[in-house]
């Protein structure tokens, strides 16, 4: 409200109570988020000030968290590299290739992937995917071993960083494909028909009209997927065979760095005292990382929204 209003609004009691509680709920969200940050910081302090030798690993909290952070990023990047092209292709299939009548049903099917609890993906990763990856790892070590990523020795169980990354990729696939689908479906008919009227084939139309229009949506969706992959816990905790403190780009061996989230899940129930504070400090690092990724992703997605709103 700007300027002088000759009549300050008369508010009824019911209105005041209701508006107040709605506003209170909104403010509660601010408080909770501030609380998340504050509690993590406060409970991290003991680990940060403790003598390095007392922290698990014996070299201080940063060299404890470092390899975990490394593992977290590696797993998430693999997931992103695998899932982004696949997600975009699925979105294209559902919006432009699948028969109209089937498209919606198939869309539900893809969305089902998003509904499956992450622990079940973990089960699937260990029992179904990992053994099936073993022959590939053996083959990769033999023929692609000159690339550091496939240096080996190949894991005999298949519980490698690459397997973990693929499981994560499956989990973030529905996020990427859902957001891409949304933006592809929003491409103005005018743009598409303009391309078709020029005699373009379907693929040329997609390249000329659909992909440029949907690009920032795809990027935003991929980053939201990245945020999810960074924080994913149980699938990694179950699938990945870890050895503490390693940092390696070798994706097919049994010696892998853990990820922050998986490490917390595995260590926390057995921890007490300073160990708990160290784990919470690692959680703080994860929180900060996902926060940055998500804020950037939202900025990209929202900028697109502003842009299309102006059209």
């Amino acid at each position: 409200m700007t300027g002088v209003n000759p009549s300050p609004p008369v508010r009824r009691l019911g209105d005041r109570l209701f508006a107040g509680s709605a506003r209170g709920a909104g403010i509660a969200i601010l408080v909770v988020l501030a609380g998340v940050a504050a509690f993590l910081v406060v409970d991290s302090v003991p680990a940060l000030v403790a003598p390095a030798a007392d922290v698990p690993g014996g070299k201080g909290v940063f060299s404890y968290v470092g390899p975990l952070l490394f593992g977290t990023v590696i797993a998430a990047v693999i997931a992103l590299v695998v899932a982004t092209p696949l997600g975009v292709a699925i979105a294209l299939f559902l919006t432009h290739y699948a028969p109209r009548r089937l498209a919606q049903g198939l869309g539900y099917v893809v969305d089902l992937l998003a509904a499956i609890p992450s622990i079940v993906f973990g089960f699937w990763g260990i029992f179904w995917l990992a053994p099936r990856m073993v022959p590939f790892y053996a083959w990769a070590e033999e023929h692609l071993g000159f690339i550091p990523l496939f240096a080996g020795p190949a894991s005999a169980t298949g519980r490698t960083m690459l397997t973990a990354g693929v499981v994560l990729a499956v989990m973030i696939l529905p996020i990427i494909s859902a957001i891409s689908r949304e933006v592809f479906a929003q491409v103005p008919t005018l743009h598409r028909e303009a391309a078709l009227a020029l005699g373009a084939t379907r693929w040329e139309m997609i390249r000329m009209a659909v992909l440029p229009y949907g690009r920032s949506g795809v990027i935003g969706g991929a980053m939201l997927g990245l945020g999810r992959a960074l924080g994913e816990t149980l699938a990694i905790a179950l699938v990945l065979s870890v050895s503490a403190g390693t940092m390696t780009f070798n994706l097919i061996s049994s010696t892998n760095p853990s990820t922050i989230a998986a490490n917390i899940a595995l260590q926390f129930p057995e921890s007490s005292g300073l160990d708990v504070h160290t784990l919470i400090a690692s959680g703080l690092a994860l929180f900060a990382l996902t926060l940055v990724v998500n804020v950037l992703a939202r900025a990209v997605v929202n900028r697109r929204a502003d842009f299309s709103g102006a059209n």
């Binding site: 409200m1 700007t2 300027g3 002088v4 000759p6 009549s7 609004p9 008369v10 009824r12």
Partner: protein, 259 residues
């Protein structure tokens, strides 16, 4: 029941933009007052400021006086909710509540305000309101069916029944027939003629024949150019406005030599 409304020096704003300026006019009870003028000249905005509906939009505000039978509607101690109970409104597009039956729609003003009323009294009120809106005979067999099943014209008469069920003193109508076919329009116009026995009616319309047919007084709103506030150019008896207006702009508009 019907009440007189005196408006003086009314300025209406959307944020910092002044949409309507300096309106001073008196609206007579038991008559139909029509507001005409080109699109975007502020007649609907003006109408909505009479029952304080204007201010539900964020940043919207009003300066000046609207006095109904001696009471300033914009007084510091006046609750806009009470104003709206006394001044009913019918909108351009019929907007019955889709989740409610025909009966519940008419009773909405009572029910939503949690006013207690015996079932038989409420039945009587619903019947009277529907009869007053010339809808009773068409819907009395299906009062419990959803209102969304009615035709557009029936829905609009249902909205009128809903508005008069709260027994207001004044009825504002914002282009009530513009979304309807000619037969439904005629039904609404006949209805207005009946209702003016009991209510003060103000109607915004784009249809000049309609204004000429139903109203006693007519006000012509205009704006000199885009970005300028709309003003009440002329207000007089309908007969005078349509036969011998004072202002050149009014005459141009009436005779279709506008813009």
């Amino acid at each position: 029941m019907a009440k007189r409304i005196d408006i003086s020096d009314l300025d209406i704003f959307y944020g910092d933009f002044r949409a309507v300026a300096d309106v001073t006019v008196s609206i007579e009870p038991r008559s139909v007052t029509a507001l005409i003028g080109p699109s975007g000249c502020g007649k609907s905005t003006f109408l909505r400021s009479i029952n304080r509906m204007h201010e539900v939009l964020p940043g919207a505000r009003v300066e000046g006086k609207v006095v109904m039978d001696g009471q300033d509607l914009y007084g510091a101690d006046v609750d806009p909710v009470d104003v709206r109970r006394q001044i009913g409104m019918v909108f351009q597009r019929p907007n019955p509540f889709p989740t409610m039956s025909i009966y519940d729609n008419v009773a909405a003003g009572i029910r939503l305000n949690a006013r207690r009323m015996a079932k038989t009294d409420l039945d009587g009120l619903v019947e009277r309101s529907l009869q007053a809106a010339n809808l009773w005979r068409e819907v009395r067999d299906r009062l419990n069916r959803p209102a969304s099943g009615l035709s557009g014209g029936q829905q609009q008469r249902l909205c009128i029944a809903r508005a008069i069920a709260v027994e207001p003193d004044v009825l504002l109508m914002d282009e009530p027939a513009s979304a309807l076919d000619p037969i439904s329009t005629l039904a609404i116009e006949d209805l207005m003629t009946e209702l003016k026995e009991r209510f003060t009616i103000v109607i915004v319309t784009h249809n000049m024949q309609q204004a000429a047919r139903v109203s006693e007084q007519t006000g012509f709103f205009n704006l000199s150019s885009a970005g300028q506030p709309g003003r009440l150019v002329e207000f007089d008896s309908t007969e005078k406005i349509f036969s011998n207006p004072e202002q050149k702009a009014t005459e141009d508009y009436i005779s279709g030599r506008f813009g």
